[in-house]
């Protein structure tokens, strides 16, 4: 079933269609949430909240906007909400995310692991909002205009924030430049 048909079926109350929609987008939503909060439990909560909101508001969805744009907006709002609600986030501390990704990367070579860990550390030091913008750009491959729409900012703001994110990341990973280019 095509996405448009799935959405129409969901709007008609078809829960099987909603499950299909969930299955096709859950990893993307979870990935964005993980990059934002870097905590699997938090990311799971955010993912659930995103799909709950989607389930309850899908009837209001009109075809004027792309579904993915709409979904990205919900993800961004839910991430910001979660952070405001839970002020225990401590960005510079060792969070479960690093151990989690380390387990995922056991099969990689030592050099790759080191690089991956350095990137993890550098990402950890970025503001969550900047991490989310980077994930929207590089994981979701959104254009600056699409990111602006999802985050309800102007393109200029997106551009200057991404500029900052690139610069900070680049400075922290400068010693790995030969592996990264």
């Amino acid at each position: 079933m095509k996405e448009q048909e799935l959405i129409q079926a969901c709007q008609a109350g078809d829960r099987t269609a909603f499950r299909s929609l969930f299955e096709s987008h859950k990893d993307r939503v979870y990935t964005l949430a993980m990059h934002y909060c870097r905590d699997p439990a938090q990311a799971e909560d955010i993912t659930q909240e995103v799909f709950l909101e989607l389930f309850h508001s899908l009837r209001q969805f009109r075809r004027q906007a792309a579904f993915s744009t709409w979904l990205h907006r919900i993800v961004v709002n839910r991430c910001l909400n979660a952070r405001r609600r839970d002020r225990r986030w401590t960005d510079l501390e060792e969070t479960p995310a690093r151990a989690w990704t380390a387990r995922e990367r056991q099969e990689e070579s030592y050099g790759q692991q080191q690089l991956a860990e350095a990137i993890e550390d550098a990402m950890q030091r970025l503001d969550p909002e900047l991490r989310l913008l980077l994930a929207l750009r590089y994981r979701e491959e959104l254009s600056y205009a699409e990111i602006a729409e999802a985050t309800d900012c102007s393109i200029g703001t997106v551009s200057s924030r991404l500029n900052r994110a690139h610069r900070r990341l680049g400075k922290q990973l400068w010693e790995y430049r030969s592996c990264l280019k």
Binding site: E49, S154, A165, H166, R167
Partner: protein, 186 residues
């Protein structure tokens, strides 16, 4: 144009977000300007690292947990207020009260006439409140100015590249781009 530094356009340049003419102008500048070239190298490393961001797999059993919650309404996603804005009235009130209390106490213990102490204490409260209000106002204005400046620099920078001969479509587009920021600032 080519002699201006292009540092604030490098992320757009790297991501192919600039119109062709502006992109080649940035390329030309970077070839001549060591400072921008070095900055571009740093940002290129940052972009390459960002390309390595991993995808994560949602945990198993997520659908079952979600399904159990589908019947209950979702928690409302209220708009996120600007950071620190909630603090200002409280800071203001606390500052005025504390200042008034300290000065009132000092004046009462240090002076003989109680009316004079109350008068001076009130005056001190008013002056303190006014100063704190002005400080809060300045901080807020600076924040808005920064946001607007960012927008203006961006629009000014792109105006001549994005405006069609008539200019109206681009102007409308730019207005749309600025609107959320203005809304936030006001």
């Amino acid at each position: 144009m080519s002699d201006e530094h292009v540092v604030d356009r490098l992320s757009e340049y790297l991501n192919g977000e600039l119109p062709a003419a502006e992109s080649s102008s940035v390329s030309e500048h970077v070839l001549r300007c060591r400072q921008c070239r070095e900055e571009l190298e740093v940002m290129r490393v940052g972009a390459a690292a960002a390309h390595e961001l991993p995808a994560h797999r949602a945990p198993d059993g997520l659908w079952e947990k979600l399904e159990a919650r589908l019947e209950s309404p979702p928690e409302p996603a209220a708009a996120v207020p600007a950071r620190g804005r909630w603090l200002r009235p409280w800071a203001l009130a606390a500052g005025v009260l504390l200042g008034g209390f300290v000065f009132g106490h000092w004046l009462q213990t240090g002076m003989t006439s109680p009316y004079r102490s109350v008068l001076i204490g009130s005056a001190v409260c008013i002056v303190l409140g006014f100063l704190l209000g002005v400080l809060a106002l300045i901080a807020d204005m600076m924040k808005r100015q920064r946001c607007l400046l960012e927008e203006l620099v961006y629009l000014n920078r792109n105006a001549h590249w994005r405006s069609p001969p008539g200019g109206s479509a681009a102007t409308a587009q730019q207005s749309r781009e600025v609107a959320p920021c203005l809304k936030q600032a006001t």
